[in-house]
């Protein structure tokens, strides 16, 4: 775009509507969640009781560890438990 006319600018601003708030926050928190999960899974590897609790009641165990058990976090942990 070599020149910018006003109508085109309005159209281009409108081309990027805001993302639902919760989606952005969840993606922004990824590093902290990852570190929490890494720690939890490392402890579960060394602690059979914690591992059993994780498998039996994943959501509560995550919440107890201070990790919000969102759909995406749960899917991630299940995948990592399967491949561990």
């Amino acid at each position: 775009m070599a020149t910018f006319d006003i109508e085109e600018l309005g159209r281009l601003i409108a081309a990027l509507p805001p993302t639902p708030e919760g989606w952005v926050r969840a993606a922004q928190e990824l590093p902290q969640v990852r570190r929490g999960l890494d720690d939890l899974l490392a402890r579960a590897e060394a602690d059979a009781a914690l591992r059993a609790k994780l498998i039996a009641d994943l959501e509560s165990t995550l919440a107890d560890a201070g990790i919000e058990p969102t759909r995406h976090v749960i899917a991630d942990v299940r995948e990592r438990l399967r491949s561990a």
Partner: protein, 184 residues
Amino acid sequence: MGPELSDAALVARCRAGDDSAWSLLVERFSRYVYAICSQGFRLSRHDAEDVFQDVFTKAYENLHKLRNDDAIRPWLAQLTRRLCIDRLREATREAPVEELEPDGMDEMIETLDEAMSVREGLARIGEPCGDMLDRFFARDQSYRTIGEELDLPAGTIASRISRCLEKLKGAMEDSGALVSPEVG
């Protein structure tokens, strides 16, 4: 740390483990990824959310593989396209891959790239213009809502928007030509 930080500098900081840089990277590209999912591929809200989270998860995990830090935008675009196609393929296993991507996707990405450059312009012109133009065009807010939320007389919003557009136009013209970097 804000809009003055280049994409390459932002990527470098993310790679060094700076959580605030990651937060800014997500904020900077969230609308772009969302637009590809929802407008480009017309995914349902549920599927778009899944792909959106997958894109940033994979970006986080694979940022070290990006060879050209300046190319984060086209890299995210490619990643988003691939994950949208994967999602559609799960739903329609029989369809060939080439039929899953809507026509005109390359042109749409070009438009979104221009839109991202305009967003950079919005950041450069500062407040209240950037916010006002975003509210009117991207958030589709009425003059009345904008006036109430920014504590301004509703009757002045139209003229303010017009002046802000002129300011944005000047800022965009000052910034020069737009060239997308090669994918890294």
